[in-house]
Structures are given as structure tokens and as C-alpha cells.
Symmetry: C2
Subunit: 418 residues, 2 copies
Amino acid sequence: MVVELISVGTELLLGNIVNTNAQYLAQKCAELGLSVYYQSCVGDNAKRLEDTIRLALSRSDVVILGGGLGPTEDDITKETAAAVFETELKEDAHTRQRIEAYFEKNKEIPENNWKQAQVPAGAKVLDNDNGTAPGLIMEKGEKTLILLPGPPNELIPMFQESVIPYLKGRCSDAIVSAMIKSCGIGESKVAAMLNDIIEEQTNPTIATYAKTGEVDIRVTASAPTEKEAKKLVRPVVEKIKSRLKDAVFTTEEDVTLEEEVVRLLNKYELTLATAESCTGGLLGGRLVNVPGVSDVYKAGFITYSNKAKRKYLDVSKNTLKKYGAVSKETAKEMAKGGVFQTDADICIAVTGLAGPGGATKEKPVGLVYIACYIGDKVQVKEYHFKGNRNKIREQTVVRALDTVRRCILDKYHETARK
Amino acid sequence: MVVELISVGTELLLGNIVNTNAQYLAQKCAELGLSVYYQSCVGDNAKRLEDTIRLALSRSDVVILGGGLGPTEDDITKETAAAVFETELKEDAHTRQRIEAYFEKNKEIPENNWKQAQVPAGAKVLDNDNGTAPGLIMEKGEKTLILLPGPPNELIPMFQESVIPYLKGRCSDAIVSAMIKSCGIGESKVAAMLNDIIEEQTNPTIATYAKTGEVDIRVTASAPTEKEAKKLVRPVVEKIKSRLKDAVFTTEEDVTLEEEVVRLLNKYELTLATAESCTGGLLGGRLVNVPGVSDVYKAGFITYSNKAKRKYLDVSKNTLKKYGAVSKETAKEMAKGGVFQTDADICIAVTGLAGPGGATKEKPVGLVYIACYIGDKVQVKEYHFKGNRNKIREQTVVRALDTVRRCILDKYHETARK
């Protein structure tokens, strides 16, 4: 089944917003084993939108449109789709009720919102729990149009709850996918390590997705039943896990690296402190992504200046003078100082040169030291990250989180072995 | 002149990456006064790419393609464009030299990189300072194809340095645009405040761009000469500035809110400390975006737990018990504590409920207090932000930065008046 995506909205054509919907929908289609050959963006213009829909229907089985379902005169996606399929718009009683219920809280229903209760005759109506515009599935012969509201906080839940089950129902086969998230090995190295597995597989397929500092691997199989598809996926997942070993931090779809770190801290009843120089608080910011982190996150110190490193983390004047702020020695003392200040079990400390200025021959931009103090020991590693100031700092944050994770694992594996 | 954008790459069709190039190019075209009616994405497939280029040429004057200029067999944008324009590929001696020079540092030139020295006969070659693939401008009759490399760190500088001058040269009129960046007023309110100005203007045009917590306004005029265009822009910029008053934090294109805050700190020789609860370091992280911030940024405290608030910021046990961690009183004590700990001139403190859990009837998710201590006075404000945990925290960071900015302005305006 071939799917095509059309994003509707002048704000995209003007570059006011980045098209995250297209990425989300494309990724989900790939997970469902559906082919996407074309994506397009068009404004709220009847003629151009109609041409775009007709072209898409001529070359794809299912066309998913996002945007242009709002209550204003400008919003014409539904009207245009109905014209292409030669159907009339009729009021949908259920949607009228839903709009009434939605507005009850806010107590005024703008007149033009009733436009949203109009749906093409015969269309399947998808409820919108986060707004007034309903989604629509329209079928004609072999072709299908799926209309979704543009705001991502409406489009994503609707796609998840209503469109995925519909598309799965259209596929004769069951599709099962699993996720493996890894950290600490670069994308090309992961690809090289898995190359033979990737090459020899056609079902399941294996796709790698690189994020900053992280590589996710998705394994997707199709089979007549879900049970059979799962059976195809499982051994491949195990094979990949055994190759990547402790670089794998989770096989759960929704678990982030910081959540895994917090889970381990909770599991082993450990507390953490952070001491940041070049990242300036971004590491703490990532940890605080996790609700309820306050039980394990004792405190964080943002010590960008040398004075602050001395005052709050007790880094010695001599160390800063002799080795500089960006050095193994300073990183180690920061981590130690963080533990002594807070009485946490672990302190993770980062210091580095994020640029653009400040580089020397010995200390280039991208040089970062990450130190971790745990159980009276402190380890420190040197990194050379590439990219601009932001990219270097993002990579540092991910590596620092991963360092905490690996240090905890190391400590408790060893303990268990003794 | 009508421009159309085509993004080439399987990674877009699979949703591996989000198409930031399309947003960048669309925004730049809008700034240049060029109309974009269609954007599309297509994979590295000769037939589909050719169809897409032909369609784009049939309805637009200039077609900008991004991606598919790499050295591998998969990369076929140049070959396909040459086929559409019926031209041959020939080696470009200058590009061959440039590739040699590029690789000299790294000492090995993969054989397939020479493919990148092949260019369509008659094409204008655009040097790539950040990679090996040259950009290309191909003209035939009234139609133009512009081919750019896909990586944003190659595409953006090339567009800026070579394509913008080319497109400006093609336009008969000079185009001048100015930027006004504002903070602290919502997008719809800004639009309402400027509505009459926006409505009465056709040249210059006025466009608003909303980011989290910030609204940018772009004023763009075209005229036979640059001088005349500037003359059209200037009074409109002044009018907008006088409406938005101190919500405007800069009229410089590249200046960010954190840069403006650091500029003010430097100007008045002030130092800053941060005390963060719900933002967990993100505020410090934004400040450290600015290279050289260490001169003015004394230190930051990430005190997510009550214990940390007491220990590092001296918030009283009684205050936390009586008013709770998310309260005016706690925010004020955090700001005071930050100043006394660091001896900074200013401390900005934030505490709030970013959710999803922890809400009560009195204290809903999104409730945030921002306190600023400056010159022996502490002010505190209550905010109710909407959105998920991340969105609430991002808005908090922007408002906290803006609070520092406004507090400095207030203090020194008053001093000046006395």
C-alpha cells in the first residue's frame, strides 16, 4: 500500500513553522510497513490544493492530509476533498454534540465553529479529544483520503488512536515492531556492527535512527498474525542486543535516557548531584524532564566561571592554574566537590570547550571532560565532539547521562559478582 | 517570481529527520519577497525525481532542490536535473581543485568523490566551504534550477552567500527587510496591537513569527533602489516599536534574548546568579549559549528538591511548610538566597508546577513564580503557562530572561530620571 502526505497551510510555505507533522506521519508509516514516495506542502488555495490532491490520488492508494480543517473561511481542506470525491457536506449530529460539549467549559461557541460539524456524506468521522475539528476518512473505489487537523497536539493523538488501527485493518498482514535504543556508539559504527544482520533480513526490516548522541534501531516484521510477526521480531532483537551489549539502554518505546538513569537511581536507592561548566545547566534540565526526579536529584551547580568552581565545588586554585578549567584534573575535583557539597552518592561533572572562541593547539573546540564520582572512586574520560557550540553541548549532556548509567551498572554488576 | 522547493532524500520520506531546510528556504524566500506555492519531498529515485522536477518547472520560475548531491551512486539530483535540461555533465577544473584542497587535510580522497567535480555544461558553480559537493545554478529559457547540498551546515551558508545575491540580482527591485523581536506579549495580542498597521500596508509587508515566549516581526519593502526600500521600512519599524514599547528587546537580526540580557549585564557592569527549581538548569543553559558569559554569570543553583532550596538558597523551613515550594514567598527567598550565596548583583529565581502530576485546585499545572532580586529589592510575579511539561518550562525560561532584562532597564531608567 502506497501512502502520500500533503501538508496544508500558508504558515509552512512562508517558513513560519517547521513541518514536524510530516516527519511524524512518515515515521509512523514506515513503522507500519507502508511506502511513502512523495510528501508535499500547499497553501489554503482551492485550485492548487485540488490539483495536489488529484495528483496524489493518481499515484498513491492513501493520501493523508494535515491542516486546513479550522473554523475560518481560509480552511478549505474538507471542502476541496469533498469536491474531488464529488460528495456533499452534511451536518454530523455527533460532531455537533461534541463541539457543544467542548465549548461548554469555555461558555461561548463562535458561530463559525458549526462549520466543523459539516462532514462529507459517507465519511468516517474521527473524534478530536484536543480540539473541535473532527478527522475524516473518505473512501472512493480503491482510493482513500484521510483528513487530520494541523496542530500536532491534535494530529498526533488522533493518528495514534484512530488512524493506525484503520491502516492496520486495511493491511492484510499484522505488523509488529520493536525498538532498541543505544547510546555511546556512533551511527556509522552501529550500522557496521549490524550490517550483516541488516543485509540478510527482509522480514523483519531493520532501520537505524540517529539522534544527538543516541542511535535507535527499529525492527519491523509483518506476518499473517500478530503472534507470528512477534516471533519473527524477537530473535532479531536479541541478536542486536547481544551485539551492542551495554550500549543498549532500553527496549521500551517511550523510555528516554534520562528516565532510564532515574530508574536506576531509584532501583539502587542512589542520589545524584550535577556539576556543570560548558553545559551550563542543560544536564540538570534533562534530568528534570523526569517527573518526580526530586527524590534522587539532590542538587546541581552551574559553575561556568573559575571562581564558582572554586567556591561551590572546592576545585583548588592550583589545579585551575596548572591544568586549566578544561582538564581531567578539574573535572575530577568538580565531581568530588559536588559529592562533598551535597552528600549525594554520585556526582557527574562536565567541563569543556564548546567554542567558538577559546581554543588552543592543545585544547581544541569540542574537547570535553566528563567525570563521575561514585562509591569513593572518580573516573574521568576525554571526548572530542564535533559541531557548533550547541551540538557540542548536547552531545556532552547525552554522554554525561550515559556515564551515570554505565557507572551504576558497573558498580552493581561487580558487587553482584563478588 | 514564483519559487518552488524540492527536498530530495529517502531519510525525509522515512521520517528519520525533520525537514528544517524547507523551513529555512521558505523563510528566506518570503524575506526576499518571492512567492512559494508548493514544496515537495521525493526520494533518490530517477523517475519520481524527474517527474517532480518537470512538474515544478511547469508551474514555477525557479526551482530550488536540496539534497542528493553526495558522492554515492544513490545521489542523482545533478544527473536528473541535467537530463531534464538536456545538458551533458563535464568536469569542472575549479571544483576538482577545491575537492583536492578539501581532502588535503584529511589525506585520502575516496574515488567516488570525483563524481562531485562533474557539473552540467553551462551551469554556474557555487563553492561549498563546508563540504565537497558544489552547488549549481542552471538556467534554460525562462526557467532556473538551483541545486544545493542537503546537510543544513552546507546548504545554509551556500544559500546565504551565493544564492541570495543571485536571486536579488534576478529581481528588478531591491528588497530590504528589518526585524523587530519582542518578548512578554502573546502573538494574538501583538497582532491585535499592530492590526491597523498590518492592514494598511502593502509595501512594506509585515509578518509576525511566534516562537516560545517571543514574537518576531519582519518588515519587508521592495523599491527600485535599496535606499528607497530602506526609506519605506524605517517609519514602519519606528511605528511598531512605539506601539510595543519595552516589549521590543532588539531590532538586530541575529541577537537572541539571552545575548541582549548579557549585553545589558556587561553594559551596567552587573553580575547575575540563577536559582532554578522547575526549569532544572535550562535557564542557566540558555545563558551559557552566549560565549564569554562567565564574566557576568556568577553561578547557578539547581534546587529541585525542598532540601536543596533550604541548604543552598537558605529558604526557610517555615516558608516551605506554610506556603509550599511553588509560592511567591519561596521564589522571593530563593532569589535573596542566590544573591547572598554568590554576592551577585542580581539573582533570578523560578519555581513552578510543570506537571503532569502534583496539581491541586489552588495550584494548577502551569503555575510559575519568577522572582528577581536587584539592588536590595525583590519583585515576584505569578504566571499561568499552558502546554505540556516541556512547553511550560520553555516559557518559564524565556520569561525569566525577560524579567532580568526589564528589571535592569527599570533600575537604570529610574536612576537616569532622578
